[in-house]
Structure formats: structure tokens, C-alpha cells
């Protein structure tokens, strides 16, 4: 088992941990964190596979770089929805 393989295996494990979080935890914030852990797992598998040959493949590197930014954007979007839901629930409780 090479070092790259080890990273890929633990990427899969991270994905599993995140998946469990998404399915088992009801709290919305923790769900968002779990989705992020899933995403990190996917990135790790992708990157580790890119370096399993002689030279590292640059295309997955660039795609993961893009993916990280999109993940940040998605997380921010989800968090803003959480804030909005929270505000609406507050309103409802006050009314």
C-alpha cells in the first residue's frame, strides 16, 4: 500500500464519517459541517489518485482547487439559509 493509497483510503473513511453525520444528526449546523467533511473526503480521494502514478496529474489538482472554492460558496449559502430560517422561527415565536 503506497502513501497515496493510504490517503485515498482515509478519504473514503472521511466520506463515510461525513455521510453518517448527514444522515444521523438532526441539527442543521452539524449537518452542514458533515457535508463539508464528506466533501473533504472526496477531494482527498481525487488528489491521492492523481499522484499514484509517476508524475502528479495537474488536472485533478486544478479541479479540486475549483471544488474547494465552490464548497466554500455552498457552505456560505447553506449558512445564510440557516440564519434566515432562524430569523423566521424567531418571528413566528414572537407573533
Amino acid at each position: 500500500m503506497t502513501q497515496a493509497m493510504l490517503y485515498a483510503v482515509f478519504g473514503i473513511v472521511l466520506f463515510g464519517v461525513g455521510l453518517f453525520g448527514v444522515l444521523a444528526i438532526a441539527h442543521v449546523m452539524k449537518k452542514i459541517l458533515a457535508i463539508n467533511i464528506c466533501g473533504v473526503g472526496v477531494f482527498m480521494v481525487f488528489i491521492a489518485n492523481a499522484s499514484s502514478g509517476v508524475a502528479a496529474d495537474f488536472v485533478p489538482h486544478a479541479m479540486v482547487l475549483t471544488g474547494i472554492v465552490v464548497a466554500v460558496a455552498g457552505t456560505a449559502m447553506a449558512l445564510s439559509l440557516v440564519v434566515r430560517i432562524n430569523a423566521l422561527e424567531q418571528q413566528e415565536e414572537d407573533a
Binding site: M1, M5, A8, V9, I12, V13, F15, G16, L19, F20, L23, A24, A26, H27, V28, M29, V45, N49, A50, S52, G53, A55, A56, D57, F58, V59, H61, A62, M63, L65, T66, I68, V69, V70, V72, A73, G74, A76, M77, L79, S80, V82, V83, I85, N86, A87, E89, Q90, E93, D94
Partner: protein, 253 residues
């Protein structure tokens, strides 16, 4: 700040799953992971035809760093759409204010709580961050670095500035709106303008490629920094009112 979110109805409903279901879930996910790991090991090292392809075309890309070449030349559609995704998220979270009274992007105010350590540190740190960000942007042509790293660093400077409390950003100001769109606008303009010379969108003429990529990256850096700071600003929520009005409510009822 998110510690204070109550999500009241959700938290009441969220009786955790019964233990049996949880155990089933863990077993199912463990089985799926083991299957994936087995598949990964059986699959062996992947063939990488793209390595040679990138290496043989690197000279035409206008930059020496293969990752930057892929990001901004060979697969520039990806990066274009990524900047577009960032702009969409920015539009979704930008405070919907039509207040015309404060049209300055950056306003100065006296903070209620002062952190002298942060203030003193910022005087040293901010110029260093701006210079480092510029260096990262420039070096992205040859070494690891580029628009996203530089933009993230600049955004960090902006967030530190916010935390020090002397400056506020108003993302409804025209200057801020310009910063939010300049990355996508320049990218689209350059991508469309090269149709004149090469006949294909986003296919830069070889002689100009390095310069065009640098122009796109400068604009993208500014936009990424602005959008990341905007996301930080927009997600700062007031603590829930119910927490403080709690005792009052009890009096009413």
C-alpha cells in the same frame, strides 16, 4: 455566532434516531466504505494521459505553472463558472438594503470594544498581507499560487480589519458592487474578446496568453477577496432576541 442559533422547532423535533437504526446506519456505511476501499485497491494506479498532454502544451499556455495553466487556460470554463458561482452566492447573501444614505464602501467608526493587541498587530500585518497577496498572485504564473490563494489572503486582511472594529464595509456602495462583479466581468470580456483573434471563446492567442491570464487573475483576486469578506459580513447574525427577552416574556404569561 452560530452557537446562539436556536432553530427552535428543529431542535424540539430532533429526537435522535433510535439506537437500532443508528447501528444499522453505521454498519451500512462501514460496508459501503469497505466496498469502496476494495474497489480502490483493485483498481490500482490510474492511467494519467493528461500529464503528458498538459506537459506538451504548457509552452503555449503563457504560464509555467501547470496548475495555473489548467485553471486559466486549458480548462478556463471551470474557473469562469466558479467565479460565476461565487457571484451568485454573493447575490444571495448581500444585504438587501436600499439605504442610499451610506454610499461609501468603507466607513470609519469608533468601536465599542477595542482590542489594542489586534489594533497594534494590524498596523504591521495589513501591509505585509497585501504585499504577500500580490506576490502570491504574481508567482502563480510559475509556482504554486494564483488568484484564489491571493484572494483568500486579502479576504483574511479584510476580516481582521472588520474584527478590529474601526472599519465597516457597506456592500451596497457602488464601489463594492463593482468589486463583486469585476472578476466575472473581466473574465467574460477577455473570453469574448479573444474570439476576434482565435475564433473561439476563451482560447487566448499564444503571444498574449500570459498577459491576459494576469489581467483575469488580478480582477478575480479582487472579486474573490470582496465576496469572501461579504460572506463573513452577511453571516454575522445578531444573537437571538428571545434569549434576552426571556424573563420579560415570562412576566407576560
Amino acid at each position: 455566532m452560530f452557537n446562539d442559533l436556536t432553530l427552535g422547532r428543529n431542535t424540539q423535533q430532533q429526537a435522535s434516531l433510535p439506537a437500532g437504526v443508528l447501528i444499522m446506519l453505521v454498519l451500512a456505511i462501514a460496508a459501503a466504505c469497505l466496498f469502496l476501499i476494495k474497489a480502490l485497491i483493485d483498481f490500482g494506479p490510474a492511467e494519467q494521459p493528461l500529464v503528458a498532454l498538459v506537459a506538451s502544451n504548457l509552452a503555449q499556455s503563457g504560464v509555467d505553472n501547470p496548475v495555473t495553466a489548467v485553471l486559466l487556460n486549458f480548462r478556463s470554463y471551470d474557473t469562469l463558472l466558479e467565479v460565476a458561482v461565487l457571484l451568485i452566492v454573493a447575490l444571495a447573501v448581500v444585504p438587501a438594503s436600499t439605504d442610499q444614505s451610506k454610499l461609501r464602501f468603507i466607513s470609519v467608526s469608533v468601536p465599542t470594544e477595542r482590542s489594542f493587541v489586534l489594533e497594534a498587530f494590524l498596523r504591521w500585518l495589513l501591509p505585509a498581507i497585501v504585499v504577500t497577496s500580490g506576490y502570491l498572485l504574481w508567482t502563480g504564473a510559475a509556482l504554486p499560487g494564483g488568484a484564489f490563494q491571493a484572494g483568500a489572503l486579502l479576504a483574511g486582511a479584510g476580516i481582521l480589519l472588520l474584527l478590529a472594529g474601526h472599519h465597516n464595509f457597506n456592500f451596497n456602495a457602488p464601489a463594492a458592487r463593482l468589486l463583486l462583479v469585476v472578476g466575472l466581468a473581466v473574465f467574460l470580456l477577455v473570453g469574448a474578446a479573444v474570439i476576434l483573434s482565435s475564433g473561439t471563446a476563451l482560447a487566448y492567442p499564444q503571444a498574449w496568453a500570459g498577459m491576459l491570464i494576469l489581467i483575469i487573475e488580478v480582477a478575480a483576486t479582487l472579486t474573490i477577496a470582496a465576496i469572501l469578506v461579504l460572506l463573513f459580513c452577511a453571516l454575522q447574525v445578531e444573537p437571538p432576541r428571545a434569549k434576552y427577552e426571556g424573563p420579560k416574556k415570562e412576566e407576560h404569561s
